[in-house]
């Protein structure tokens, strides 16, 4: 658990030498306790003190890198308590037991998912390759090679050293995690993972056994770990994921301060709908790499949307890019409407506009990412800001239909806008997005 300033001060040299930049050792200790400075800024700490302190001042959950992605590093159980830091990754499950057609199908389906949503590229980040004992090392290597060719990051789970070596060798730099370290093989797997600088995935019969293995690995100097919490049933997987995170964040159990792997493909046993339900569950509750059979658009659209929602800082609003969004095939002769760049406003309003089927140009202005009334109250959505938008995007000369629909909640801007945008017919729209469909249909006729 977090150390208090005084605990650190007791172990400090107490010389007030100022080499750390602080006036006194006490001041330095308080800053370290707050997380504002790190211990290594003091050159005079005794090795014994350092050893005692460094484990105690470590963050409760380690941040693990998988290629360009970061996992873990969380400090709270729920996003409203502060914020969640690193979003989970989604993976597709490939096993050397599967026929080639099945493997090809899964890869093709998963690779087809590639789109952008509010500035974020949505892809299957990870391919999970299983190299089981029933298959020859050559076969395992072949499947790993196929997976590596996609360019995505690989998790390789191997039954033994021979298969691990074969699969890792053919996967090359794509391999990022070696999974399957258990009570029997952890030493060998640890050596393999450490030599290739891979994250080591621990897979044990239960959490207690996992804890034992992690303690041994940590004693051997490896803290680049991830824990497979899948277990034998859905209930067990959920319990494991919850307990691992609770132990790390609430009870300060450093040996469980690692991200997790949840393999929903193994839990759902071919039921795609159950798999989607579980992927949603583990996106919210502590799956760091959530593995599915494969990812199609049907699963990706809701899951990636959910993830994008949950892994946002509650203190920072989600914004969309200001600009003109033509909807339903709108062109220069279609009417225009204006609103703010708050992502939720954008989604709700554009959804309703699309539902109306009426061609319309949607203007998104830079309002700091706040909702209509909030940004209006803050002066970020005003006749002036709309006029500036018209200048920045050269609206007046581009659009022939000079009708501009204003959100009903800022009807008060009508007069000033008419003065600032001569030639434009300013129409007050609805106060709620849900009323837009009828409003537009009536408006058109």
């Amino acid at each position: 658990m977090a150390l208090k300033g005084l605990d650190i001060f007791k172990l400090s040299p107490k010389t007030n030498c100022k080499d750390c930049g602080c006036p006194t050792c006490m001041a330095f200790s308080m800053k370290v306790a707050r997380g504002a400075m790190t211990l290594d800024k003091c050159p005079h700490m005794s090795p014994e003190s350092l050893a005692k302190l460094s484990s105690a001042t470590e963050p409760p959950m380690k941040t693990i890198s998988i290629g360009e992605h970061k996992l873990g590093g969380e400090t709270v159980m729920l996003r409203h308590e502060k914020t969640l830091v690193n979003r989970n990754l989604y993976g597709a499950f490939l096993c050397a037991n599967m026929p080639d057609e099945e493997i090809d199908k899964r890869i093709a389906e998963s690779m087809a998912v590639d789109y952008e949503r509010i500035g974020e590229r949505m892809i299957v980040e990870v391919l999970y390759v299983n190299a089981p004992a029933e298959q020859s090392p050559e076969r395992c290597a072949e499947v790993a090679k196929k997976a590596a060719e996609t360019g995505r990051d690989l998790v390789i789970e191997a039954a033994d050293e021979e298969r691990a070596k074969a699969a890792l060798a053919s996967a090359g730099a794509a391999a990022k995690v070696l999974a399957g370290a258990n009570a029997a093989n952890w030493e060998v797997f640890n050596a393999l993972a450490t030599a290739k600088k891979l994250v080591l995935g621990v897979k044990a019969a239960n959490l207690s056994e996992a804890h034992d293995i992690i303690e041994k690995l940590e004693a051997a100097g490896n803290k680049n770990l991830i824990v497979d919490v899948t277990g034998g049933s859905i209930k067990e997987a959920f319990a494991n994921a919850m307990q691992l995170r609770r132990a790390a964040l609430k009870d300060g159990d450093r040996s469980f301060g690692y991200p997790s792997i949840v393999n929903t493909a193994r839990l759902a046993r071919g039921d795609r709908h159950m798999q989607a339900a579980l992927a949603s569950l583990f996106t919210l509750r502590y799956g760091s790499i959530v593995v599915l059979d494969s990812m199609s658009y049907a699963e990706a659209l809701p899951l990636y949307g959910l993830r994008q929602n949950i892994f946002t800082d509650p203190q920072k609003p989600m914004k969309v890019e200001p600009g003109v969004y033509p909807l339903n095939g709108a062109d220069e002769n279609s009417p225009c409407c204006v609103t703010v760049d708050f992502a939720l406003t954008y989604f709700v309003v554009s959804g309703e506009l699309e539902r109306s089927g009426v061609p319309i140009n949607m203007f998104i202005t830079d309002a700091g990412g706040y909702s209509v009334l909030t940004s209006w109250a803050a002066g970020k959505f005003s006749a002036g800001s709309i006029e500036k938008f018209f200048k920045d995007f050269d609206i007046d000369s581009k659009y022939k239909n000079k009708t501009l629909i204003l959100p009903g909640k800022v009807a008060v801007l009508k007069g000033e806008l008419e003065a600032r945008l001569p030639g434009w017919n300013i129409v007050v729209g609805t106060t709620e997005a849900i009323q837009l469909v009828r409003f537009l249909r009536d408006f058109k006729s």
């Binding site: 859905i234 307990q243 609770r246 989607a276 569950l281 049907a298 809701p302 929602n309 989604f347 539902r355």
Partner: protein, 314 residues
């Protein structure tokens, strides 16, 4: 040295509320653990899945499985009966969209007749959802409540604007249950519960509808509101936030782009029905994980899957 898990069981519990009457009556709430954490302590009552049936038949273009499920159903009663047959269905939500004065504007008498027809078609508990028009919903809920005195239905929803009429007519006069609807905000939710109890509605007669959103459409507000409500209910024993939560998932997910764009318009997205089902499933699962005690769904596949997930977690 291994690891021994500590069960996280609170002293406070989610309030228990009974919907419906007779053998099929359904109790919501009762948990003393975080949502879905049956591994900490076995559930008194599992979360429940209900099926939405609208008085206006669903648009089924591009949705062959949904169309097939209701094939041959001539009347509203037929559809209710068929909905009740879905695997895992524990209650039926009668959604009277057709009462909307801006739409079909069905009269209160017509709606009452439909509600009676539905009640005769199933003995599952009934949840009555209105048309979102404050004036119409007040008249409609009062009349339906009077028409189904012994069925103990739940009315969705009473809002700040109409909780007095609905609370008095449905809950106080007839002893029925009322859903308190607030717009994803813990303070508004609590305030409405306080107002309703001050009016004289018993706390046990209230179920919360904290608002919903489809996955990807501002779901972080739904999740964080539910997280905070559950924390207040369990950790701080806040009795004004201990009511069970019901979430009409289907009413959100079936109108988003992912569910309504046809395959012809979006060939790379694949089957429209699969998209609509997965959107409903992912959203429902996320609601239950965040703390819903009941979810309302539309598609038989979603109902089956979510019910199976709940059973697997029990």
């Amino acid at each position: 040295m291994g690891f021994t898990a500590k069960a996280q069981v609170y002293k406070a519990a989610i309030q228990e509320t009974v919907l419906g009457a007779g053998e099929k009556a359904l109790t919501l709430g009762g948990a003393r653990t975080q949502p879905l954490c049956a591994f900490d302590e076995a559930w008194k009552n599992a979360p429940a899945v209900g099926v939405e049936v609208s008085d206006i038949p669903f648009e089924t273009a591009g949705l062959p499985a949904l169309a097939a499920w209701y094939e041959g159903c001539g009347s509203f009663g037929d559809r209710v009966k068929k909905a009740a047959e879905m695997e895992g269905a524990k209650f039926i939500c009668l959604h009277f969209e057709g009462a909307d004065p801006g739409g079909e504007n069905k009269s209160v008498e017509e709606i009452v007749a439909l509600a009676k027809e539905a009640a005769a078609a199933t003995d599952l508990p009934l949840v009555i959802a209105g048309c979102k028009n404050v004036e119409k919903d007040q008249a409609l809920f009062s009349a339906v409540s009077d028409a189904l005195p012994d069925r103990n239905p739940l009315f969705l929803s009473a809002r700040e604007e109409d909780y007095k009429t609905i609370g008095a007519a449905c809950a106080m006069a007839n002893g029925h249950k009322v859903g308190a609807e607030s717009a994803v905000d813990i303070n508004l939710a609590k305030q409405l519960n306080v107002l309703m109890t001050q009016l004289g509605v018993p706390a046990a007669g209230i179920v919360m509808n904290l608002g919903s959103a489809a996955a990807g459409y501002g779901f972080e507000y739904v999740a964080s509101t539910m997280d905070r409500v559950k924390a207040a209910a369990l950790e701080q024993n806040d009795t004004m936030l201990q009511m069970p939560v019901i979430t009409p998932v289907a009413l959100e997910t079936w109108s988003v782009k992912e569910s309504i764009m046809s395959e012809a318009d979006m060939p790379e997205w694949g089957s429209q029905e699969e998209r609509a089902i997965e959107m409903e499933i992912v959203t429902a699962s996320a609601c239950l994980t965040s703390g819903s005690d009941a979810v309302i769904l539309r598609h038989p596949e979603s109902v089956k899957t979510i019910a199976a997930m709940i059973a697997a977690l029990a």
